[in-house]
Point group: C2
Chain length 293, copies 2
């Protein structure tokens, strides 16, 4: 018997990516090798549209959001900044678009609420991948391969969401992601704590170095400072939106971080080596769980 | 004319390393290829001593500090934890040892003061290199190659320190380091800000994740959290000593960091996107200077 393997079949036939930035561009590029998929794209930046057209793998590319919304998609994949994803979802809702919708935003609550309010066929997602650079030119087909990918179903959408969830699960498995499901609000709490807070914390650390040491301080730094502040080099526009959308969680977690730093300052101020050791021992043992992976 | 190159000549003939940990072991291993150098070593850990003897490149290895101090060294290179370096310097001072002394500790003030008080021929140093692992087994010959190496002369030692400074400069240049000079107190301020503070900040961030999310939170993390907390995985014993020795600077810098985080919390709490953007724009532009290197 001849051995052959069926090529993987994507659960969507016509997929429109809105926003060809780092994530949207990378998802589009990862989808390009699959047969039988029509790819379409929207981006408001003329240079990005020009670059995308050059690749000749998008059936259509537009700078006009209304045109994008009118296309015969079966999945609209929103990869714009989180606020603009929400705005597009609201327009889709008013237009009563017939296709399924997902988004890749770093906060899941607001897009989910908007989609729910308008009765869209929606389920949000979030690839746990990123770099300190942005834009289509930095996107690459393997950015999300081997990454954790969170899908955020919400039972308030009713049983109809199950079919979309299953198809989004299959789509991202074919792109090499490891999938986990969690509710939008749990997602925003978890990633507020381990992504949005670390960004603000890294920025505050870099800001303290600038305030206390000036620009020249950078000539002295080693890998410790570089690693600890690396995410602080990201373009801030995205993070400002994320902080606004996830402000309740962030205010709580910033308070918790400030308390712990204040506790450390007290211990260091009274030179209590034993208490500092006990505190850091517990934390470093926790952090070393990751080092072992 | 035949072309040949003289092998580099080290400015020391008999060098004793006290403490074969990550730094001491790496410096010893980097020195091993040089001809005409007798290497000796002290370590209090039996396994390390056994491992060091196996290499057969140390003329002598001892677990007895008094024996080490009595050897015919021309340079004692102290790579013990900072408190134990200071203790050894005090013993050397009481013994009026005839050889030059340096140390590789992360804080420079206390060892420098002790050496000055006892009138030793001393100049401190600090390789800007490290990993989140410790011990001789993790040390390697190229750990400090291409690293920044700080030498901390102090004019209170008088003109006699110049000769030692010149020799230590040559020694570390031969090991491939880029050398800079700075006073011990300036060193402790600078590295309090860009090394000791980032360690405490990374630990506080990991500690907040543990307090607010429990151990399970680690299964959700991406590279942002990993990088931002990486130094927090280091064995804390070293850092507790460093924090005790550099407590005045750390109390100031922790206060500054706490203030900036509090300011961020206020901005996020009142959802002032414009003010957050202005703040983060300035910081990310500063941090991106490093990204370009």
């Amino acid at each position: 018997m001849p051995k052959f393997k069926l090529p993987p079949r994507l659960p969507f036939r016509c997929l429109g990516v809105a926003g060809l930035g780092l994530i949207g561009g990378s998802i589009a590029k990862a989808l390009m090798p699959f047969d039988g998929l029509t790819l379409m794209a929207f981006d408001s930046d003329p240079d990005t549209v020009k670059e995308a057209r050059k690749i000749k793998r998008f059936a259509r590319v537009t700078m006009d959001a209304d045109e994008f919304l009118s296309w015969p998609l079966d999945l609209a994949y929103l990869c714009l900044p989180v606020r603009r994803n929400v705005e597009l979802i609201e327009r889709m809702g008013r237009l009563k678009v017939p296709y399924a919708v997902t988004d890749s935003g770093s906060t899941k609550g607001p897009a989910n609420e908007a989609a729910l309010a308008f009765g869209l066929n929606f389920c949000g997602g979030h690839p746990i991948a990123g770099k300190e650079v942005a834009g289509f030119s930095h996107s690459k087909a393997d950015l999300i391969r081997n990454c954790l990918f969170i899908l955020t179903p919400d039972e308030r959408f009713g049983p109809g969401q199950k079919e979309l969830l299953w198809r989004l699960n299959n789509l991202h498995q074919l792109l090499g992601c490891r999938i986990r499901f969690i509710s939008p609000s749990e997602h925003d709490r978890i990633y507020g704590l381990i992504s949005h807070l670390p960004y603000l914390s890294a920025s505050a650390l870099a800001g303290t170095a600038l305030a206390e040491g000036g620009h020249d301080i950078l000539s002295w730094v080693g890998t410790g400072f570089k690693d600890s502040t690396r995410v602080g080099a990201s373009p801030p526009a995205k993070w400002v939106e994320v902080a606004m959308e996830n402000s309740d969680n962030l205010v709580t977690f910033l308070g918790s971080l400030i308390n712990l730093l204040g506790h450390m300052r007290d211990i260091v101020g009274r030179k209590d080596a034993g208490e500092l050791m006990a505190l850091l021992d517990k934390i470093s043992a926790f952090r070393r769980i990751l080092a072992k992976e």
